[in-house]
Amino acid sequence: MPASTDVAIALNRFGLGARPDEATPVEARRALVEQFSRYEPRPPAWASQPGSAAIIPRIDALRGAARAQAPDAAGEPAADSGRRSLRRDLRADYLAAADARLLSALDTPTPFVERLVHFWSNHFAVSVDKVVAAPLAGPHELEAIRPHVLGRFEDLLLAAETHPAMQLYLDQLRSVGPDSMAVQRVEARRPERKLGLNENLAREILELHTLGVRSGYTQADVTEFARALTGWSVAGLGRGAARDTAPPGSFEFRAALHEPGTRTILGKTYSQRGEAQARAVLHDLAGAPATATHIATKLARHFVADTPPPALVARLADTFRKSGGDLPAVYRALIDADEAWAPAPAKFKTPWDWTVSALRGLGLRDLDRAHAAPILAQLGQPPWKPGSPAGYDDIAASWAAPDALLRRVELAQRFAARLGDRLDARALAERLLPGVLTGATRKQIARAESPATALALLLVAPEFQRR
């Protein structure tokens, strides 16, 4: 029954998995588009989360304490314990934000858009193994990603790059113009100090966030872009904070750190002064054809297949270009693509996908006193911790592994234990996998030794491991 498969695809491939307590959509494609008008950038699950404005002063305090602990200062126990408690607070911020992210995914009335939030958050990845970025990963998603997933790519790009999480993660605060006023002053006093560019942010914007790797830019382009970016900073952080004009945690342009002069990037000259220079570069990068292809490829890979069909990528890239990076237009083109509705599920769920869909499938909206981050760490995908700015892989080869499968089974057993016989797995399976459930899985579920085992089997069934 093709119509029934469409429903399963809308729920599982585009969405985050069916919930037994929600009505099944009638018209699969239209139901997806309709989510755009109902999406909430700041849903209840996130409401109580602290933003960058609250967190940046604490990070600044921790960095101040770290400086005070420099080798020449003999071990001062009081300062040390203050530092430990600051670290504890920041770790608690991370745990709470990861919980908010999961609860939002369980609760959302717009699971397709929520999936896009996760997609873009991973595209503009910050990784919490960099300690200073850890408490800001949640605010990055909340403040930079969520408000712009249904907007223009350029706005999303600008929000993601200027956010303090990205600037701290990619070392932007260390990058200063070698000929800037501030560096000239410092070097006049202390000639032995070498201050200069850090190319990290510039390189990852080109390689990961916009044009894509091997798309034709050179090392000279990276360096020039890094020069254009100098002066970008975060209000309320570091020694320059006293002169900041923006509220703590906001973007601050520190003109004294900006490398003066005209820049040439990808053959184009940028003669803007100050802050406007890097913004002009980002504007051009957002509109570059290579960016359209890069984004189209990643979206098609996420929704259709590990190796996306070239024709689909071309159509999505075309829409991206013609619409000026209007993201809903690109999403509509994806929904209209027949390739996205192929009945055979080509995508193996990531641990995040699987956990979210399993909890949703059981009708749960909470974690029963557990935290999301350790659960996902056991499965191999702790939130916002891909370990590199490239984000987590979006292909089966990275996730379909023996031990990972075993852990899903163990976790399915634990999730199912919360329900026991309160849910009948036999009926639930038909509900969650309409038109997709195979006779073999149906049989194994019916034969399970207990209602909880039957639920666990449903959650690890081949149809449930893929989308």
Binding site: L405, A452, V460
Partner: protein, 382 residues
């Protein structure tokens, strides 16, 4: 040869064990030291391997390679599976008794439905919404301390009007062998998952099964630590799964029983002196086929084995109205015929444990299933 041999193994009370003792009055007990624990075996544990009737002439022929080697002789007819080494010591110390050919009123062979009857105490599946263990809790004075389930959620047997709490250790439990086997069957037709799963199981086998036993022992110790408090819960329930041994029964059942044995031993050790006031019931939804199947296992049956363990148990005996395993004696030509009602066993054990009047207890717990006749003399009265 008689078609049905009656064997009443009751070292202390002889045949009197099966008689009603209606003279006791219903009495509300004080706070008391008595504790009752129900360990449910989900998946139909094979009573014919756990308490093998080695003295039955048909047994070896039916079971073949599934006859446990090195079983500990309990009496002229029955033995105990060798994996239950600590439980065997409790039997020798008269702190454990085994019941054979016992069953709930359920006579079909669905796990879901059978467990529903076992836990509700109803006469048929889905006729009751609450569990007999909760109704038992309601018979005890409400002094604020609730019955407890050592599980993520409250199992059906403990659900109902009386307030109940639950406690689950936070560590990720190992998947049971049963679940692993079923997942293997689930992936049989999926090339990618099938290959991954095979290598996962190979790695798992290298790690050994010591983890399961460790988990069971720590669960027993945890349960005891709750029950031991002077104001602790008087009623507890512990869930065990993995008893559905359709294939590879010898190895899997031995591992299951080692875990159960570790759980019981840890409970005993943890309860200390109060073990003398403790009664543990181990029961399953139904038994397994009298004969081995073609895959080294057994299929869903009817008559099962149950255990009562604890210092308050009048142990050291096997209670059975043994129907025998001769072809004509089997239920539907395949299952051990149940000759003892599990409801009677439970009603008698809990009434004595908490000094309740047996008939009224039976009524409160199992009236919907029909008049239970509580077995007397299973447990010492306080």
């Amino acid at each position: 040869m008689p078609t049905r041999r009656k064997i009443l193994h009751a070292l202390n009370l002889g045949g009197g064990a099966l008689l009603l003792r209606p003279r006791l009055l219903f009495a509300a007990p004080g706070r008391g030291r008595r504790r009752f624990v129900f360990i449910i075996q989900r998946g139909a544990a094979d009573g014919l391997a756990i308490v093998p009737p080695l003295g039955d002439p048909a047994y070896a022929g039916l079971r073949g390679a599934l006859v446990p080697e090195g079983a500990v002789k309990l009496d002229a007819m029955f033995a105990l599976h060798p994996a239950l080494a600590e439980t065997a010591k409790m039997y020798a110390a008269r702190e454990a008794l085994f019941v054979q050919a016992v069953a709930s009123p359920y006579r079909e062979r669905s796990h879901f439905d059978g467990q529903n009857v076992l836990e509700t105490g109803g006469g048929a599946p889905y006729t009751l919404k609450d569990g007999w263990l909760n109704r038992l809790a309601a018979l005890l004075p409400d002094d604020g301390e609730h019955a407890i389930a050592f599980a993520a959620t409250v199992p059906l047997a403990l659900r109902g009007k009386a307030a109940v709490t639950s406690y689950a250790p936070s560590a990720l439990p190992q998947a049971s062998d049963d679940l692993l086997t079923r997942v293997g069957m689930l992936y049989a037709g999926d090339a990618q998952l099938h290959a991954l799963w095979d290598s996962a199981l190979a790695a798992q086998a290298l790690a050994g099964d010591a983890g399961g036993r460790r988990d069971a022992a720590s669960l027993g110790a945890t349960a005891a630590s709750f029950l031991l408090r002077p104001d602790g819960p008087r009623i507890a329930m512990i869930e065990t799964g993995g008893w559905d041994t359709h294939s590879g029964q010898n190895g899997r059942l031995a591992a299951q029983l080692k875990s159960l044995d570790a759980l019981l031993a840890a409970l005993k050790a943890g309860m200390g002196a109060q073990w003398a006031d403790t009664v543990v019931l181990v029961a399953t939804e139904f038994g397994r086929t009298a004969a081995a199947n073609g895959t080294g296992g057994t299929d869903h049956g009817t008559g099962a084995a149950a255990m009562l363990v604890g210092g308050a148990v009048q142990g050291g005996r096997v209670i059975a109205d043994w129907p025998g395993l001769a072809r004509g004696a089997l239920l539907d030509g395949r299952d051990l015929k149940p000759t003892l009602a599990l409801d009677n066993l439970i009603a008698g054990a809990v009434a004595a444990c908490f000094a309740l009047e047996p008939a009224r207890t039976a009524d409160a717990l199992f009236a919907q299933a029909g008049a239970a006749r509580p077995l007397e003399g299973l447990v010492t009265r306080t």
